[in-house]
Symmetry: C2
Subunit: 334 residues, 2 copies
DNA sequence: CTGAAAGCGCTTACAG
DNA sequence: CTGAAAGCGCTTACAG
């Protein structure tokens, strides 16, 4: 591997000059500049990012703390983050916080990341957050002052879905979520559901809102399947099921199929996130969506802008999720 | 951020001693050791990985070059890689090679990765591979001498699927793949299909084997949908469709549903990879599978062992993919 | 067992 | 515009 000294020697200049022409941060005379470029390309020189980070203090490395990696929602957003980040010369690493969160934290901290985005809904141990703040890592979607927020808002989209169900004549609607019961009423999707039940003439049977009390680590589709099967086994009557996300809806649909129920003939189903496979499954899934690739890019851009301009303020913005109407939502069964 | 000098000062020892106790590579007296541990924990000291990499030459960072990130097959394997790697203190970064491969390569090279795993089926530019070899990055699943290989073998599993279809009375079976037509016959799944057609009494109409001539960058499910729709539009008769992978099968199933065909009543479908949602979609998908999490862990272990013991030889191993029988494969329509 | 020193490959004031 | 030098935070011979 060639290093800057090799390039400098071949070009017959100092290493500082090599840095200056390669980064373009300081003007360099034409002659020297050409010699440096020639030497660098002859030696196929590629700077060492660890050394750059150590000397400059800025780390072109973004971490993504994720839970439930196999949820396509996360992957689609991460794809956008990766796309923008790599365009800017940043690498992006995934940290699956579902296991060994403590060790994972040490690992993250040891990387001295330039930025980190949080996809984990559990509250973060404050100790970790403090460490990031102290280390000036640019944070996204952490629950603290020194963090950007780019939130998705579901309330209007969810309201549309609920009202549409009402128009279709549904009277008894259920809601299943991956949240633990004690936290579920904090979610805006569920809040919206509760608020609109009266207006829509839905039955207000509280046992139709079911949180994840299964325990253990499960995927959204597993939870969707189990909670739906339990509703059916319990003899609960409902003609429409709202699911907290698409993967959960997928699990719910499997349960309905196994019970011989037709979607949407016997029961309607909606999800949230508009994951890419939503239009491929059968029936295609009515959901709430937004451009996750663009969202990911915007996350990366926000972080990188701040890394490159530390004086930029932390901002809180949001992005609207809109209804995506497909076949899984239909008229209520007579 | 505390550094080794801070710890050394507080413990009243040299920085070398701090290194020695923290890494455990050299014996240190009890008294000093305790002082170092006490100082490190008091200062919440976490070593800087960039500095470690620069000084030691080993980079605890693994790259994954991936194509089609949203294919759950890749994600499930990557989850295994991440799990093992982080246990060993390695970070893992994703590089989506679907776009800007050239820039992406510079980025990868600049990281001086410890290891890199290749999930891209296109042949790699030799220039890049040479660079990795020269830089001693441990490679997995690259097409060269200095790379590990951990391949999945599909031939036996595929043969089982094909014979099962024959037992079910299928006479005309089609095969769709995401490979370009000119490369498709290199794939063992397609080879097996071609070899068994006679034995199974299948029609040997070559136009029933269709490669991806659509062009442009598409996802597997898009390709599956389009190729299947084209077969149907073209009036091709077949009662069984083998798909190169599960995502492709998902697209194919969507096409069948839209054409009002029942699966498996009118047409049977099989995939490959056994992605986690395969049992949730409707009908559940018959496929070929193996434990992708374990596979990912094994990939990471192989790479990390070699990073830590460079004298270890490159090995070529393989892992068998076995049939996973579900509802999408059934008796041929009379 | 312990520590002073050189070195990894860069960047960043600083001087010229 | 150009370059010599210090420094980023570690590890690794080397000497004691």
């Amino acid at each position: 591997m060639a290093n800057r000294a090799d390039v400098a020697k071949l070009a017959n200049v100092s290493v500082a000059t090599v840095t200056n022409v390669l980064t373009g941060r300081k003007p360099v005379g034409d002659d020297l500049r050409n010699r440096v470029f020639a030497a660098a390309s002859k030696l196929k020189y590629i700077p060492d990012s660890s050394a750059q980070r150590l000397a400059s203090g800025v780390n072109k490395h973004i971490g993504v703390a994720v839970s439930e990696m196999t949820n396509l929602y996360h992957i689609e957003v991460i794809k956008g983050i990766e796309a923008y980040a790599t365009e800017k010369g940043f690498a992006v690493s995934l940290f699956d916080l579902d296991s060994n969160a403590q060790d994972k934290f040490r690992l993250i901290a040891s990387r001295r990341l330039g930025g980190i985005v949080n996809f984990v809904s559990d509250v973060y141990p404050d100790e970790y957050v403090q460490y990031f703040i102290q280390d000036n890592v640019v944070m996204m979607n952490f629950e603290c002052e020194q963090s950007f927020r780019l939130d998705t808002v579901y309330s209007d989209g969810m309201a549309w879905l609920i009202r549409q169900a009402a128009k279709f004549g549904h009277k008894r609607a259920a809601f299943i979520t991956t949240h633990e019961p004690r936290y579920m009423h904090l979610d805006t999707r569920i809040k919206t559901f509760c608020e609109l039940r009266d207006e829509c003439g839905f039955d207000t049977d509280e046992s139709l809102i079911v949180g994840n009390d299964i325990g253990g680590k499960r995927t959204s589709e597993e939870i969707g399947y189990e909670l739906t099967a339990r509703l059916l086994d319990g003899g609960k009557k409902f003609t429409c099921l709202f699911c907290i996300n698409d993967m959960t809806a997928l699990g719910a649909m499997r349960a309905f199929h196994e019970y011989g129920l037709d979607i949407p003939g016997d029961v309607s189903v909606t999800g949230c996130d508009d994951i890419s496979i939503g239009k491929y499954i059968f029936p295609s899934l009515t959901t709430l969506g937004f451009d996750k690739f663009v969202y990911g890019r915007e996350i990366a851009k926000t972080i990188i802008d701040k890394i490159e301009n530390p004086q930029l303020p932390y901002t809180h913005r949001s992005i609207e999720s809109v209804p995506v109407y497909r076949n899984s939502l239909g008229p209520a069964k007579k």
